[in-house]
């Protein structure tokens, strides 16, 4: 479904991605791991079409995303949900308005239907009762939940998660991962999760990609990752 082919990107002469290639099958969830500054978020932004690569391409169902016209990018984004590291909730809107925003702006659903759908999504992420609160009035975990509800409210086929548990305590982080898994079971989306949450994230992903110095160091199942004798991976696992 998602094919990343020889992706290269540099900033001010510094190579961040040096030819990344891998494929994510329909309904699969991949974990993208690696050290800080290793290009994980940059790679994710390429998949979302927010950045253009210097070389290489991102294809979704055979259609090139990067460098393609605005129309094909718009069509791709109709199928996409993205959970930002900081949530990226609109701070002038309350939780309900944030989750309702994409439906209000893009769908032709009536007010009651939108309300019903939003409340159902808020219930799914455990935020029922907090719909009138503003992003500045809720905790980091609640912001992530609200952002997840907003990303999922349109039932996306592809979900991208940029460090969904960063900045959260271990219990809240674990609950977010469980929530992502529950949403995957319900919606069967294809997903990529950029995370440092090792090995907790392995319980909810099919495969793992380890990025190191702009290259794929390992691609395999969570078991392959845990059993790897690669010193870089060993060092990463031992922290």
């Amino acid at each position: 479904m998602i094919k990343i082919d020889k992706l290269q990107k540099s900033f001010d002469g510094h190579d961040v991605l040096k030819g990344i290639s891998f494929e994510v099958g329909k309904g699969q969830v991949f974990a993208l791991v690696g050290g800080s500054g290793g290009g994980k978020s940059v790679l994710l932004k390429h998949v979302a079409g927010l950045m253009k690569p210097d070389h290489g391409s991102v294809m979704v169902d055979g259609t090139k995303i990067n460098g393609s016209g605005q129309k094909s990018l718009r069509i791709f984004r109709e199928r996409l949900g993205f959970l930002f590291q900081g949530g990226a909730l609109f701070d002038s809107l309350n939780v309900f308005e944030n989750v309702a925003f994409p439906l209000k702006e893009k769908s032709k659903l009536g007010r009651n239907l939108i309300r019903e759908k939003v409340m159902k999504e808020l219930e799914n992420v455990g935020l029922k009762g907090s719909e009138h609160r503003y992003p500045s009035q809720i905790s980091g975990g609640m912001v992530k939940r609200a952002a997840l509800a907003r990303a999922l409210v349109e039932d996306p086929e592809i979900m991208l998660f940029d460090e969904p548990t960063t900045g959260l305590d271990p219990v809240t982080g674990q609950s977010i991962l469980k929530l992502i898994d529950a949403c995957h079971q319900r919606l069967s989306f294809t997903g990529i999760i950029v995370t440092h949450e090792i090995p907790k994230v392995f319980a909810i992903v099919d495969r793992v990609i380890m990025l190191h110095k702009g290259l794929v160091r390992l691609e395999g199942t969570p078991a392959d990752f845990m059993e790897s004798r690669d010193p870089v991976i060993q060092a990463f696992l031992s922290g």
Binding site: R77, F82, A88, F90, D91, K106
Partner: protein, 258 residues
């Protein structure tokens, strides 16, 4: 080495000017391409226009009162104090009204627009809009442009009216120029072309405020550094650049067009 650095600096400025030009053209394109976000436009009209009324009335009133004083003492030296009305009227309608109103709106609303868009940029809210398949220009720039174009002539008119009345309070009530003389001579000497000059200026100043402030906010983090410091710089640059452009453009409009 110095030449190379200087050349790079020039190229960077040219690139930014090009980016500003493209930004303006895109905003213009989406202004005329439906759908228009009417609720966002109304919200910005309320913010830029309605919320500036008190400030504009206050500054307009005091500007007119100062003109009343200065005009009376200057004109009375030549025995022409009867022309206080036309002097205050023409100065406000042609020049001071559009310029001071625009500078006030830049300080009050333009800075807030740049800061709001800048914060949206650094907190990835603009990226979120894009990833929802929604066009940031349509949501953020177009409503500000339309609101500024609608509000600036109205605020300028308010500034002029309150300023003229302020001039009358000083010239008429305090210094003894009769109301008939003050307003009668003003009606005689101020022509519709003078009023139109003020309207054209205020319209173009509205465009400058929306364009520069939105651009600076939208590209904060790219051209002005990262984080809150970047937004702070972007806001300062937005106010300074808008103010300078307003004065420069005012000169060109006055000298070439009128």
């Amino acid at each position: 080495m110095v030449t190379r650095k200087f050349g790079a600096l020039i190229l960077e400025y040219v690139r930014r000017m090009g980016a500003m030009g493209v930004f303006f053209l895109k905003t213009l394109l989406y202004t005329f391409a439906p759908p228009l976000k009417i609720s966002r436009c109304l919200k910005q009209i309320q913010f830029i226009g309605f919320q500036s009324i008190l400030l504009i009335a206050l500054t307009g009133g005091f500007s007119g009162m100062v003109l009343g004083f200065q005009g009376f003492y200057s004109l009375s030296r030549f025995g022409s104090d009867a022309f206080l009305g036309p002097m205050v009227g023409l100065a406000l309608i042609k020049e001071l009204g559009p310029v001071i109103a625009a500078l006030m709106v830049t300080g009050r609303a333009g800075s807030a627009i740049a800061a709001e868009i800048g914060i949206m940029r650094i907190s990835e809210q603009i990226d979120a809009l894009e990833l929802m398949g929604l066009n940031p220009y349509r949501y953020l720039m177009v409503p500000n442009l339309i609101a500024a174009i609608i509000c600036m002539p109205l605020l300028t008119a308010l500034f002029d009216v309150v300023g003229i009345f302020g001039g009358y309070l000083i010239g008429g009530k305090l210094l003894g120029v009769g109301a008939g003389t003050y307003y009668g001579e003003m009606a005689h000497y101020v022509e519709i072309s003078d009023v139109l000059e003020g309207v054209y200026k205020s319209l173009s100043f509205g465009v400058i405020i929306a364009w520069v402030c939105c651009f600076k906010g939208y590209y904060s983090g790219i051209y002005t550094g990262f984080g809150s410091e970047g937004v702070s710089k972007a806001t300062t640059q937005a106010v300074v650049m808008s103010s300078v452009l307003i004065l420069v453009w005012d000169y060109f409009m006055t000298s070439i067009l009128f």
